[in-house]
């Protein structure tokens, strides 16, 4: 029994040792496996691990405010609620969006776009599903949040324009980034971060000063777990708030101006400082509510805006082109005086027309002005006088003077989409019409008709340059202090001297005063009675149709009897106060009738408002 036990013990010992050996061998295999994973493939897994845990989220900076010269906010940020989708937490976006559509009015097109975005996006930034949720929608979504895995309600900031249409054209608006913005940004070396619902300036000052307003995007590196839940913050780079932009514009004056323009169907006006070019008001009527654009405008609303004959989307003050009409007589006069071809006392007889080699050029006043010198001719806006003056001066001098006064090319306001208008000349005619310049064209150009076009802004600048001692002021909306730290638009000087003779400028101003102060003046009815606030200026009535000989024979059809589109544009350019010019104004009423009756009173009220508000002194 002992022997048996011994042999069995030996067998056990042998087998136990074999088993132990096998176990040791298998443990060695485990060690080998660990060596393989941790040492040989360690780097690869370490990389995978890094990707596993860090989630980079962008922090949008608060956009800078836009303030008027009295620091009244014109564009500010309001908190809003938005629904975003976290890609890494979503399994089936289409099912999820279908669920969402039962809660909020998300269109099929929007849903498709989100699915496309989701597929295209390689980084794992959240995607904006629906912006500006109402309280009811927030409540409904919150209630269903447990079933909406991958969705999140975020608090964001949205642009708000408290003055709505009053500032629409100047401020522009922000909107979602589109491919065109990205292309432009690429060219400028700017890069937009992939922030859900990122909005950039799309127009107006919002676009012009976008890089100043937008600030610097921050980011936060978050450690997330496998469920996408945030564990903690690893690093945070705070967003840098955008700079506030202070404007030279006065919102009170702007509203006064718009109140005046509201009397018309379609018009625009610019008020600026004759010395600095600071724009105090820049208005275009009718307007639109820029707040509607912030979240994407509805198609019907858009169709209404684009189909409106009064072009509410266009900033007519900088983008509307009009024949300057008689307001151009300022250019003609100064060209004549500077060329030494105009004796202000020398008289011209106006029979109601000017005969150029048998071809009659009509004066607006049927029957003529009789005998007029410069002062009377300017006051009564005698076309015959200026036809003759234009003939003497010639198109080349007219063109050169017009260009010195800011016509024919952009004056360079800090707004996008400014237009330059047209100041024709010989070279232009040859290049664009393939004909020689005709003397008759010089005559009609001298009274601001024909090919010539200008924006209200250009006309205001023209006005400013002849009453500020002949300095080439340029307009700007941003205030000096504001532009300084932005290092953006530094120019705020009165501009270089244009080299005009001071006596000539006095003569011109005297003539412009006569327009308002003399009973024969076209704007006498719109004069300012308070002497210290008195204005001067020039009316203009720009013909938009050709008056045939037959019509002239039967009597020119009154504006009131014409279709709106065929009525004359009413213009007025002016300045105040008379003795020490500070404000220049240009008013254009589209198809308004006559400058004297339809534009001058508006300009008067605007210049009165400027002075009473002491806008420049604020």
């Amino acid at each position: 029994m002992m022997a048996q036990d011994n042999s069995r013990a030996r067998l056990f010992t042998r087998r136990a040792l074999l088993l132990g050996g096998a176990q040791a061998g298998l443990l060695a295999v485990l060690v080998g496996r660990l060596y393989d994973l941790q040492i040989l493939k360690g780097d690869r897994y370490r990389t995978l691990a890094e990707e596993n845990r860090i989630s980079l989220r962008f922090l949008p900076p608060p956009r800078g405010q836009i303030l008027d010269r009295g620091n009244v906010p014109l564009a500010l940020n309001q908190q809003n609620y938005r629904l975003v989708l976290i890609p890494e937490r979503v399994d089936d976006a289409e099912v999820l969006l279908a669920k969402i559509q039962t809660l909020i009015p998300l269109t099929e097109g929007d849903a498709d776009k989100i699915v496309r975005d989701l597929k295209r996006r390689r980084n794992r930034q959240a995607i904006l599903v629906y912006d500006n949720l109402t309280w009811e929608q927030v409540a409904a979504l919150s209630l269903h949040m447990p079933e909406l895995g991958g969705m999140d309600i975020e608090v964001g900031e949205a642009r708000f324009y408290p003055y709505g249409a009053d500032m629409a054209h100047v401020l522009g608006h922000t909107g979602p980034l589109d491919s065109r913005d990205i292309d432009t940004a690429d060219k400028e070396g700017r890069a937009f971060p992939a922030i859900p619902g990122l909005r950039i300036g799309k127009n107006g000052l919002e676009k012009q000063y976008d890089s100043l307003l937008c600030g610097k995007v921050g980011n936060v590196q978050l450690e997330v777990n496998a469920h996408g839940r945030v564990i903690r913050e690893l690093a945070r780079q705070k967003p840098l708030a955008g700079h506030d932009v202070t404007l030279s514009l006065d919102i009170g004056l702007q509203q006064d101006v718009l109140q005046q323009l509201a009397k018309t169907e379609s018009s625009s006006a610019v008020v600026l400082d004759v010395h600095t070019g600071a724009v105090y008001a820049l208005a275009s009527h009718p307007g639109f509510d820029p707040n509607a654009f912030v979240y994407g405008i509805h198609q019907t609303e858009w169709d209404q805006l684009t189909g409106n004959p009064f072009a509410p989307l266009l900033n007519k003050a900088i983008g509307g082109l009009y024949a300057p009409g008689s307001t151009f007589k300022i250019v003609t006069t100064l060209a004549g005086l500077e060329a030494g071809l105009l004796d202000p006392q020398k008289t011209v007889f106006c029979p109601g027309y000017f005969d150029l080699g048998g071809h009659l050029f009509h004066c607006w006043k049927h029957g003529g002005h009789g005998t007029v010198n410069l002062r009377h001719a300017m006051a009564g806006s005698c076309d015959t006088y200026f036809y003759q003056l234009g003939q003497h001066v010639g198109i080349d001098r007219l063109q050169a003077m017009a260009q010195r006064l800011g016509l024919g090319s952009k004056v360079g306001i800090d707004l996008p989409h400014e237009r330059g208008g047209l100041m024709p000349g010989r070279a232009w005619k040859k290049a664009n019409r393939h004909h020689e310049w005709q003397l008759g064209e010089t005559l009609i150009t001298a009274i601001g008709q024909g090919y010539i076009t200008a924006t209200p802004l250009q006309l205001a600048i023209m006005m400013a340059r002849v009453v500020n001692g002949g300095h080439a002021v340029t307009p700007h909306l941003i205030r000096a202090e504001s532009s300084a730290h932005g290092a953006h638009e530094g120019e705020n000087s009165g501009g270089d001297s244009l080299g005009f003779d001071a006596d000539n400028l006095s003569l011109l101003q005297d003539a412009l005063a006569a327009v308002v102060t003399e009973p024969i003046g076209t704007a006498y009815g719109a004069r300012i009675l308070e002497d210290e606030l008195a204005m001067a200026g020039k009316t203009g009535t720009a013909q938009v149709r050709r008056i045939s000989t037959a019509e002239r024979a039967e009597g020119v059809i009154a504006n009131a009897d014409l279709a709106w589109k065929e009525r004359d544009h009413a213009l007025f350019v002016g300045y105040a106060p008379l003795t020490a010019p500070q404000y220049a104004v240009a008013v254009v009423v589209e198809h308004g009738g006559s400058g004297a009756h339809d534009a001058a009173p508006i300009a008067r009220d605007i210049l009165l408002a400027c002075q009473k508000r002491n806008v420049a002194g604020v």
Partner: protein, 396 residues
């Protein structure tokens, strides 16, 4: 034992009641002196590492895992030492009854599982929860050791004598498979195989059994639950569905691999800390170690296990009764299989079967089972010189 009286005097005065249920020759003091303290140190070291890892995995906090685990470990340790003092002959006598009780419990959970919902594997006794399939690992070892202990040498060679132990194995395996718990079933089979091996069953029997097993694989596959099939398929190709069934293995490998040689430091394992890792406190606790302590830490833990296994073999080899030898071998094999299955699983070598890392993973039942096993092992060590006849009567 000339000093027995002196020692006994002091001990007996105090511990008389306890001693009365124990064996006749060894006093409590003798037993305490005979305790294999080296093994105890290894066990404490493993348990301590487990608590440390749970502290880290819980975000460097005693809650929710490290604290409860520490308490359980301490209680279990006391229980283990108490069990170690129980005479091995008592275990021999209780082997079959315990096995019967566990079988009854397995049937009970099976029935309850059908009444209740899903895979229920435990019995809630109010005070604590019993998972019969876990305890069966120990009682099966004891029962098999008891059976082979009672066999004459020649009987080992007879096939008919192998029928009872095979049935003893297949009965619980079948019930555990019904739960369904593939991992534990395999563990039971392999532990039993180690015992059969130690008992001296002929080598050709193993070969035939292996052959039969391979042949029946397709049948077995057919009867697997979908999630079990998925796990096996996932094991074959985890990258096929990185966010689904393969997620655990992939994340586990990422965490393991990113540990490198020296690891990321205590509490610094990003994968473990960031919940990329599923079940990090239970079945995947080894990953926390490997990520935070690197290959060095992982190998150190494996060496501790190797040391524990070496003690187990030493006890089995030094034991002078067959019951103790076979039981020690079986318990050691169980321990080894836990380690192999767990580390193999988390490193992607083996399919995910849901087996904890012994003494380290969070969880009461597994810890209790393993400390119970260690208590038995220590008891066998203490009583290694006790000779027991085939019928279970002490001979020395």
């Amino acid at each position: 034992m000339h000093n027995q009286g002196e020692m006994g005097f002091r001990g007996q005065a105090f511990f008389m009641p306890v001693l009365l249920i124990s064996a006749e020759h060894l006093t409590l003091a003798d037993k305490v002196r005979l305790v294999n303290w080296g093994l105890v140190v290894l066990i404490v070291a493993l348990g301590g590492i487990g608590i440390g890892l749970l502290y880290s995995a819980g975000g460097e906090s005693w809650r929710p895992w490290a604290g409860p685990q520490g308490v359980r470990f301490l209680v279990g340790l006391v229980g283990m030492l108490a069990l170690a003092l129980v005479d091995v002959r008592i275990w021999l006598r209780l082997a079959y009854p315990l096995y019967g009780v566990m079988m009854g419990m397995l049937v009970l959970v099976e029935v309850m599982g059908h009444i209740g919902m899903g895979a229920q594997r435990w019995i809630d006794l109010g005070v604590f929860v019993i998972q019969p399939s876990e305890l069966m690992k120990i009682t099966l070892v004891l029962a098999l050791a008891r059976y082979f202990h009672g066999l004459e040498d020649e009987e080992i060679g007879r096939l008919s004598r192998l029928v009872p132990p095979v049935l003893m194995v297949l009965a619980p395996v079948g019930l555990v498979l019904l739960q369904p718990n593939l991992g534990t079933s395999l563990l039971l089979i392999l532990t039993s195989a180690a015992l059969f091996w130690g008992a001296g069953v002929r080598v050709w029997v193993f070969l035939v059994a292996l052959g039969l097993g391979l042949v029946s694989l397709p049948v077995a596959w057919h009867h697997l639950h979908d999630y079990q099939k998925a796990r096996l398929m996932t094991f074959v190709n985890p990258e096929a569905d990185p966010l689904g069934a393969g997620y655990n293995i992939l994340q586990s490998k990422i965490a393991l691999g990113s540990g490198g040689l020296f690891g990321r430091g205590f509490g610094q394992g990003t994968q473990s800390q960031l919940q990329f890792l599923p079940e990090k406190h239970t079945d995947f606790i080894f990953v926390v170690l490997a990520e935070e302590w690197g290959l060095v830490g992982a190998v150190a833990l494996l060496l501790l296990y190797a040391g524990l296994l070496a003690y187990g073999f030493a006890i089995a080899l030094s034991c002078r009764n067959l019951f103790g030898r076979l039981a020690a071998l079986g318990l050691t094999a169980t321990f080894f299989l836990y380690v192999l299955a767990n580390v193999g699983m988390v490193s992607g070598l083996l399919p995910v079967v849901g087996i904890p890392l012994p003494l380290v993973s969070y969880g009461g039942t597994a810890m209790m089972t393993l400390l119970l096993g260690c208590g038995l092992l220590l008891g066998i060590s203490i009583h290694r010189d006790v000779r027991i006849s085939r019928t279970g009567i002490s001979t020395s």
